[in-house]
Symmetry: C2
Subunit: 307 residues, 2 copies
């Protein structure tokens, strides 16, 4: 069985939407990634840090899915705290507050029996920390995915470019792709970014789906049109978690199989936004995922008939 | 051979983009619709009005494609004039000026040998004029598509609701769908609008593709990711023209075949935006369309593998 290692933030989130609010709920990239990848029954570890105030039940939710949390450090500081507000247009959000707390001093340590992981997800954090993780890995044929954000594109461009050149897949959103490349057209942005030395690039467009680029090929995975997007928090991480979980399960990182990975990722993300925070992922079953995959198929598949 | 009748605006457009500008070029909904549908070699008529100042070569471009222009009236006033400016984000445009001119007094007359047309496209105009066209039609099993805009949603909602209930397909953009339904979610908006009595609804999302709704079914056609969107003017009309041309050619208005129609429409629209105004459509060949259809197929098609 392939091992999947995810490293990144674990947080307490306060989220305000037009439909209500929730405070200090389970959050952070690796919470969403871990829960999403758990659908695929792969051998998983998550690495991160929490504060003394992090509820035990949130860590139990990971441990209950047989996710190794031995290197989720418990700090004497408070947990990373993030709060945000969404308006009617769920694609735009306003960050109200970020308190780094314990995450400010985070130094990732890969569990000894996961240094040989073949599948690795480096969540958004300082590029030098992402590099520290890479340096602990030993597998010869590994597949490493990277997320980042505007802050690192602006502040540490050289370190970021270096880590991008060392990974297999970069998974960022449209605004980040434009900022990183200086190109407005996403197609041009993609080719500019791949020239940094990363063979696969996913550009996430929120409710407008996601594009996968590899050499001269491109694939598009739509977002499932939903009656209501209740809370988009974590959708991008759920998408990445679904992709990496599926890839780890299948062990196949060809472009053709990556298409399937995107559809699985989009399917899991479509559940994620149905409730606050991680709530829907915590209740998600594999049967539900498989049923919704069929909706994706009917949403996008057609036979070309020559008129 | 099925007949396709299109009724609506013919205009002179001045368009300003970050890449340059063009003034008083061939424009208006039925110019784009006629040129796009002409790819399918169907029997076509367009009905509209031009002013004394409309260049003969623009009408010749339609007549050269064996499109009946016998009821394109020539007014003693000037031609409808529209100008707009695009910024880097091509999805947002600023209308600089609309001079209705000859179009203000337009009363559509369907050519005698097109009153039995089975396929009819009612371009955006006053709902009472769209009704006048409907009343001239005689075919028992016809398929009528309708476009409209925010102006009529606000000013003549009752007349608009009435004409919507009388047609088979409504083709509008996302903002119009939200305004018409009062719902932000496009899925909810779609079901609200179909309750007005229209069985098929297409919601256009510009560079983010288009959704087709019918009963409880939904299909998504992406927009082809392009290196550069040079000028989005007319893309929505080219999309509608491609759809109606394909439907008229195939004679099949099932939901399954409508999916193909959307892909053809999206393909032709993807050419439309590559140059100013109608320029690219004027040079477009069927071979180019068929080649690009294959790109659409590889962009969106996947095999579900159960992980």
């Amino acid at each position: 069985m392939n091992k999947l290692l995810s490293v990144g933030s674990i947080a307490l989130d306060s989220i305000y939407t037009p439909f209500g609010f929730i405070e200090r709920t389970m959050g952070g990239a690796v919470s969403y990634i871990g829960l999403s990848a758990a659908i695929f029954d792969v051998e998983q570890a998550v690495v991160g840090v929490v504060g003394y105030d992090y509820p035990k039940e949130y860590l139990d939710a990971l441990a209950d899915r047989e996710i190794d949390i031995s290197q989720v450090q418990v700090s004497t500081e408070r947990t990373l705290f993030w709060s945000a507000k969404y308006h009617t247009d769920m694609n735009a959000r306003q960050t109200l507050e970020t308190q780094l707390n314990a995450f400010a001093g985070f130094r990732p340590v890969v569990p000894a029996h996961f240094t040989d992981a073949r599948f690795v997800m480096l969540g958004n954090m300082e590029p030098s920390l992402q590099l520290e993780v890479l340096q602990q890995l030993t597998a010869e044929h590994k597949f490493v995915a990277l997320d980042t954000m505007n802050y690192w594109i602006e502040r540490t461009p050289q370190e970021l470019h270096r880590i991008i050149s060392m990974v297999d897949l970069l998974c960022i959103n449209d605004e980040e792709a434009r900022q990183l490349s200086g190109e407005y057209s996403l197609v041009r942005a993609a080719h500019q970014i791949m020239r940094l030395g990363v063979p696969y690039l996913i550009i996430k467009k929120g409710e407008h789906g996601a594009l996968l680029f590899h050499k001269d090929e491109v694939f598009f995975a739509p977002a499932l049109p939903l009656d209501e997007v209740f809370d988009p928090t974590g959708a991008g991480d759920a998408f990445a978690g679904g992709i990496m979980g599926y890839l780890a399960k299948s062990g196949d990182v060809s472009f053709e199989n990556m298409k399937n990975a995107l559809i699985y990722g989009a399917t899991i993300a479509s559940f994620c936004v149905e409730s606050f925070g991680t709530k829907r992922l915590l209740a998600l079953t594999k049967d539900e995922v498989l049923r919704r995959l069929l909706e994706f198929k009917s949403l996008t598949q057609f036979e070309i008939k020559i008129a």
